[in-house]
């Protein structure tokens, strides 16, 4: 009976394996199987029989007490090391680089179109248009990959450390202090994006579109940059104390 075996394995999952525990599991499984077949013979359906067996199993604590076995408890497990202010500082430093790399990467991808359009205006620079487009796109993608990988590496190194109340407070203070720069960044970014329409209206030429795209790229950079830094502070400010960093 696989279901009974799975149920029993679940009950014993925190119990260190030993010959006595293996014997106890085998004997309990045998008794449960006998009980199951007896219930079937009494006319119960398979699921009713399973329900009857499981409800009559009882607690394995008494079995473990009889065997003198003590399951591994969370208190017995080694407590995780606490995250220090330096660790948090290192993480925020990595977040800063991540914010710049990600913002630059996305901005470059947008600007690549502007470059293509700019060089496309002159038939002599057609090749330059394609080359500049490809270079900007690959530079943008590389920047995004580099930024993401770097931050992930730093975060992975801290994954076994627990967040403490003092780190929570430090992060909350940083988060609060960052709200003003964040607001300025967001307003600047949004303004840049809205104003990008102006050169497109004033300059009828393709140059208008080029300027529009460049302004959007700058606006997007600002928005991503401040938001990513903000999220770095928020992640530690909102993590529950005792919880592992993730």
């Amino acid at each position: 009976m696989e279901s009974l075996q799975v149920y029993l394995d679940g009950l014993f999952k925190d119990v260190p394996p030993s010959a006595a525990v293996r014997q106890a599991k085998a004997d309990l499984l045998a008794a449960m199987e006998d009980h199951y077949h007896d219930a079937l013979a009494r006319g119960l359906s398979a699921s009713e029989a399973l329900g009857e067996v499981i409800s009559s199993v009882g607690s394995i604590d008494e079995v473990l007490a009889a065997l003198d076995v003590h399951p591994a408890t969370s208190e017995d497990a080694e407590a995780p090391e606490a995250l220090t202010a330096e660790d948090a500082q290192g993480y925020w430093q990595a977040t800063l680089r991540y914010a710049a790399g990600l913002g630059l990467g996305v901005a470059l991808c947008i600007a690549s179109v502007a470059l293509a359009v700019f060089f496309d205006r002159n038939p002599d620079t057609d090749a330059l248009s394609a080359i500049s487009f490809l270079l900007a796109v690959s530079g943008g993608v590389a920047s995004i990959i580099f930024a993401t990988t770097h931050r992930r590496r730093v975060a992975r190194g801290l994954r076994h450390f627990a967040v403490t109340p003092s780190i929570n407070r430090l992060a909350a203070r940083r988060l609060e202090a960052y709200q003003r720069p964040r607001m300025i960044g967001l307003v600047a970014g949004i303004t840049c994006c809205i104003c990008s329409i102006i050169p497109a209206i004033i300059i009828a030429d393709n140059l208008g579109a080029v300027l529009l795209l460049l302004m959007v790229a700058i606006g997007v950079f600002y928005m991503i940059y401040v938001q990513a830094i903000n999220n770095g502070y928020k992640r530690l400010a909102e993590a529950r104390p005792g919880q592992l960093f993730h």
Partner: protein, 107 residues
């Protein structure tokens, strides 16, 4: 259905008494108890197993691998001489307990 709390002190004696009739294995012992009490008392599997384990450790029972059950050897239990002595003492104790409880509860 009798609560397991009321029966706690007598699980050992009941199991020893079942095994005094002959060697048996887990579920058969449990079934004998349920049938012998007209379904009034059922031992949980873990309670039965832990009691059997304690009785084997104390020497009241011996365990051996018996016939195959669904492809696995069943563990059979045998009442030893020590087990018989414990059972006799438990019987005597029970008569005294019964007398005391009856005296107060059936007045």
């Amino acid at each position: 259905m009798i609560s397991s709390d009321s029966m706690r002190g007598y699980n050992d004696a009941i199991i020893l008494a079942v095994l005094a009739r002959g060697d048996s294995y887990g579920f058969e012992i449990s079934k004998a108890i349920t049938a012998g009490t007209n379904d009034a008392y059922t031992l949980r599997e873990t309670t039965l197993y832990s009691t059997l384990t304690r009785l084997v450790k104390s020497g009241a029972l011996s365990a051996y691998a018996g016939e195959l059950s669904y492809g696995r050897p069943r563990t059979y239990y045998h009442l030893t001489a020590i087990g018989r002595t414990i059972l006799a003492a438990k019987k005597q104790e029970w008569h005294q307990v019964q007398g005391v409880v009856t005296h107060f509860l059936e007045e």
